[in-house]
C-alpha cells in the first residue's frame, strides 16, 4: 500500500478524498495522520444527511495519545458513514485508505475537488512538517 496514493486528493489537515463519480466523494484520514495519532480507540462520525461546509468539524478521532478533530474537506451533505468503525476503530490504523474510510459526501460543487492538494503537494507538505 502506498502511503500517499496518487489517485486521491488531500487537505492540510490530513484528510484524504476519493472521487467516487456522480458527485459523491469518500473521506478518511491519511496514513501519515493515523501514524502520528497512534492506535485509535474511538471515532465519532457526523450524522447522515448532515450538511457541512468545507473546513467545518465533521467528527473526532481519538487515540491513546490524543483526540483530534476531523474536518470536512468539501462542502456538501453526508450520505453515508463507516459504521463498522464504532466497534473496530483499528481499521483506520490497519487500512486508512480502504476499510478505514470515515464518511461519504454528496458534493455541492463537483469542481471543489480541484482545489484540494494532489498527492505530490501533500507529500511535500508532510516533509516540511518533519
Amino acid at each position: 500500500m502506498s502511503e500517499i496514493p496518487a489517485d486521491l486528493k488531500y487537505t492540510d489537515s490530513h484528510e484524504w478524498v476519493r472521487d467516487e463519480g456522480n458527485g459523491v466523494c469518500t473521506v478518511g484520514i491519511t496514513f501519515h495522520a493515523q501514524h502520528l495519532l497512534g492506535d485509535l480507540v474511538f471515532v465519532e462520525l457526523p450524522d447522515v444527511k448532515k450538511a457541512l461546509t468545507a473546513g467545518e468539524e465533521a467528527g473526532v478521532v481519538e487515540s491513546v495519545k490524543a483526540a483530534s478533530d476531523v474536518y470536512s474537506p468539501v462542502t456538501g451533505t453526508i450520505t453515508a458513514i463507516n459504521e463498522t468503525l464504532a466497534s473496530t476503530p483499528e481499521l483506520i490504523n490497519e487500512d486508512p485508505y480502504i476499510d478505514g474510510w470515515l464518511f461519504k459526501v454528496k458534493l455541492e460543487d463537483e469542481d471543489e475537488l480541484e482545489s484540494l492538494l494532489n498527492a505530490e503537494e501533500y507529500a511535500e507538505k508532510i516533509t516540511e512538517e518533519d
Binding site: D39, V41, F42, V64, K65, A66, P89, E90
Partner: protein, 491 residues
Amino acid sequence: MNIFEKSTPHRRALMQAPRASLKTALPAALLRQTPAQLPEVSELQAVRHYTQLSQRNFSIDTHFYPLGSCTMKYNPRGVHKIAMLPDFLRRHPLAPLHESQGILQCLYELQEILKTVTGMSGVSLAPMAGAQGEFAGVAMIRAYHQARGDFARDEFLVPDAAHGTNPASAVMCGYKVREIPTKADGDLDLNALDAALSSKTAGIMLTNPSTLGVFEKQIALIAKKVHEAGGLLYYDGANLNAILGKVRPGDMGFDVMHLNLHKTFATPHGGGGPGSGPVACNDRLKPYLPVPIVDEKDGDYYLLDKSHLPHSMGRLSAFLGNTAILLRAYIYSRILGREGMIRAAEFATLNANYLMHRLQKAGFELAYPKRRASHEFIITLKTWPKQYGVSAMDVAKRLLDYGCHAPTTYFPLLVPECLLIEPTETESKEALDQFVEAMIAIQKEAKTSPDIILNAPHTQPVRRLDDVKAARQLDLVWRKAKPAEIHTEKV
C-alpha cells in the same frame, strides 16, 4: 487478585461486624431483602490486601515525581496533623454557625490570603475542583456581559497551547472557541489575537506561565488589547506555583481566575480528588461569585448567600465546599507565610532551570532553548524514533526502572515526542542529579541496547500495560463468576 476473589463463604471479622440489632430509621420497604455481596475475609486478610496494594503505589511519598503541569509537590505531614485535630474532624456540616466560628475563621482568612496572593478583591471557596473553578469563572464573565445587555459576545479565545479544560469550560458556558496560535518562541501570536478580537469576543483564557513552561512576556499588552475590545481575561491558575509572591494575576490585568489548591497549596493530589478550585476575581465580577462566601463583622463570622448577593451564580457544592481540603491549604499557607511562599516559587523555578541546564548539557534538545524555564520545561525527543526506534513513551516507562516517575508525555500537543518536566520546590539537588543520571543512562541505552527501553518497565509489579486494549474494551466492573466457571477454573 481483588479482594472479592480472596473471599471464602461465611468468613467474617467479628470484631468489625455491625451489631445484628442495629436499629435504623429507614422505612422497612426501603431495606434490602437479600444480603449485599461483600468480600468475606478475615481482618488480617483485609489488612494485608490493602497494605500490599498501597505498597504498589508509585507516588510522591516513595519516588521523584516530575509530572509537568501537575505540580506534584510534597504534602507536608504537619498540615495533615493540624487539619485532623479532633475538633475539625468532629464538626458536623449542619452545626450552627455560632458553634462553627473556628472553621469559619480559617476559611475567611484563607479567602483573604488568596486575595493577597492573586491581587484580586473577591474569592469564593465553593468550587470543588479546578475545572469547576474554570466553569465558575467563565460563567461569571458571561453573567457580566449579559447584565450589561451585551448578548452579542459569543466567542471565547483560547491559545492552542492551553489545557484541554479551557476550551471545554468555554463550551460548557455556551461559547464558541477561537483558537489563537503560539509563536515559535512560545509567546502568543499577537497578529492572530488582533485578527480574532471583535465585538463578539467575550474573553480570553490564558495560563501564565503557559503550558509551554515559559512566562508570557506580552501579557500587559494582551490584557490591554482584550479589554479594549470589550472582553475579559480569565487566568488558569495551573501554573501559579511558579510566580507565587512574585507577580499577581490581578496586576497582570486578569479579571477572574481559579486556583488549584492541590497544586500550589500542597493539598492531596491525584486519584481524582478530593480537589478544590477556589475562584478569585476583581470588583467588576464580584457580584457574580458563587456562594457561600465567608464574611466577618465585629469578630463574628457568617455566610453570604443569595440573599446578600442576588446576582451570584449560585451554589456549586454542598455546605462550605471541600472544607477538609480548604483547611489544609489554609494551614499550609500559614506555615509558609509570605516569605515562605516566595521561597517556594523561587526554589520551584531554580530547580526547573537547574534540571533544564543539566539535561541540555547532557545532549537533550530543549523545545524552547532561548527561554528561561518557569517552574517547568519541555525537552523533545523528536529525533529518537527515527534514530533509535525509541519514543518519548518508551523513555517514560524506562524511567520507572530508575526510580523516577515519568514526566508528562505528549503534552503540550504542540511539541512532538515531548517530556514536560516539573521538579517542584520540594526536591533536593541530589534527587535532581539522580534524575539527570537516569536520563543520561537511558540516552546511552537508546544508542547501544534500545530493547531494554522498548520492553521497560522491568522492575514494576506490572510490565507494559496494553493501554489500547484498555481503551477499546473498557471493563471496570468486577462481576462474581458463575459457580460453573469457578469450578472449571479450579480444574
